[in-house]
């Protein structure tokens, strides 16, 4: 751009220097302003998308995670537990009470769906291709019409077989809308994960009065089942207490380390990696790189 300024500037100066006494019909000053056009970069996956959806490393962490969940559920089903892994209403880090299990309640494992059971490659590809980032209206269309364009996360199908063989019911608790029941059930079925029935094995946003919170649905599920495992890609898939908007990322992390909670991770509560979206993507420089780790290279002597 500066290049063009100089050109037009020089052209004008030249014109001035050679300007005869006015008027000079045979000479004229031509000023050409060339506008720089920014051609948009071709769509490319983000590094997080490359890692999560594209890499061997991600696939392996998913297989490892789902094998661990299946092994835990198998072992737990053996020793008939009398306590659920669902936090009781009003539970805190200091008083972490869990729901009790009725002796005759069947066992269940409760899982989030998006980026826990399935990778939403169709919608994520669309958002990236078009550069819209995320659009709730388009996501709603995805819930309705995405069947066949989402893939089961590696390791999930094998884990589901082991969990079902252990006699444990698989229940999906997702924040997909209960206005799109059929689309989401079809998406899970098309991904090879089986049949899910609304209100029995599939719970959606709107089923309980607490909106996008999931405790209400966990309590509904617990009316009929003893929940021995919870898994998701976000803390809200475990308990809403972790989703308090007032918590900074370090405070939120500290809450998960409270003794009553810390012993649950990998032991009834399971988190899978998702660096692409969600409440885990937050934090300032100071929150992500704590002050006590501040470093800079030593000044070089010249």
């Amino acid at each position: 751009m500066k290049h063009y300024i100089l050109l037009s500037t020089i052209a004008l100066l030249a014109a001035c220097q050679t300007a005869p006494p006015e008027p000079a019909p045979t000479e004229k000053v031509i000023v050409k302003v060339i506008k720089k056009v920014d051609t948009p970069a071709p769509a490319a996956p983000t590094e997080s998308q490359q890692w999560l959806y594209g890499s061997a490393e991600s696939r392996i962490t998913m297989v490892q995670s789902w094998n661990a969940i299946a092994s835990y559920v198998e072992a737990k089903a053996e020793s008939r537990p009398n306590a659920s892994v669902v936090l009781a209403p009003g539970a805190t880090a200091e008083a972490a009470d869990f729901l009790a299990c009725g002796a005759d309640q069947p066992l269940a494992a409760v899982f989030d769906a998006d980026e826990t059971l399935i990778w939403n490659l169709g919608s994520m590809g669309y958002f990236t291709r078009t550069g819209v980032g995320f659009d709730p209206a388009i996501w709603d269309e995805w819930e309705k019409t995405g069947a066949g364009k989402a893939q089961a996360i590696p390791g999930v199908k094998d884990a589901f077989k082991r969990i079902r063989d252990a006699g444990v019911e698989i229940i999906v608790n997702t924040n997909r809308s209960n206005t799109n029941i059929q689309g989401s059930a079809d998406t899970l079925k098309s991904a090879g994960l089986g049949e899910f029935a609304h209100g029995r094995s599939l719970y959606l946003r709107g089923d309980a009065p607490d909106g996008g919170a999931k405790d209400g649905r966990r309590y509904m599920i617990s009316d009929n089942y003893c929940v021995i495992a919870l898994a998701g890609d976000q803390l809200g898939d475990i308990a809403d207490i972790f989703n308090d908007k007032a918590l900074t990322p370090p405070e939120r992390k500290a809450l998960t380390v409270a003794p009553a909670f810390d012993q649950m991770w990998g032991n009834g509560w399971f988190i899978l990696p998702n660096p692409v979206y969600g409440p885990s993507l937050a934090g300032t420089m100071e929150e992500v790189f704590p002050e006590d780790t501040y470093w800079e290279p030593p000044k070089q002597e010249d």
Copy 2:
């Protein structure tokens, strides 16, 4: 910017229009080219950094992973294995031979260091703060002087205690340079991970002729130990066969799924999530979002 072009252009035209017969000592043309200064956005962590270094979700996946590694090593140490998990020279997906273990060889677990045992918060914070991305010369300074500014990854210290209590030697195989032995040993010690001795429990780039490849060092380690576990954040921490530069991301992923290799993940071979850097961050739109998952919202009728 265009604004300034117009100003200077107008100034010149005005000067031309009012130019008297030369020379005109009382008038002169002043051309002021004002350079647009782009004020840099304040440094902010990337979403991958927020997830990996800042989020509760990441902390939990690390604790789950390291508990799984420790449990595997404890169980394996019980049943004295006669085969290593280190692939033999020339092994392929079709002929996946592993090194044998001498009956009298002590057991060892071999781990990568960076983003496997420690989070390099000091250097990553510096790179992000200054916007340099990554600079090998600065990284070299980090290897020399970063002790105390890297943190042990959550779950590693507990896992190390369990592994050592099981009588299994912990050996670090890192691509940090063997010109910075002391700095890297100090960094591991300052992070609370213990004492590591070069050539015995610490192997670095330059110790074997194959540069940044790690098989050479894995063979050296295997001269003295029966390796029962390998863990890292990249496939190169397991076997160099996965780092063939000719492999596209889907081909690289497919290689890890080959039956002989697939049964090893979580079963002697362990990968931890790292979406911040490394060979896992690769892939085109088509590679990350496969064609058979292509989706767009249905056209709306108006």
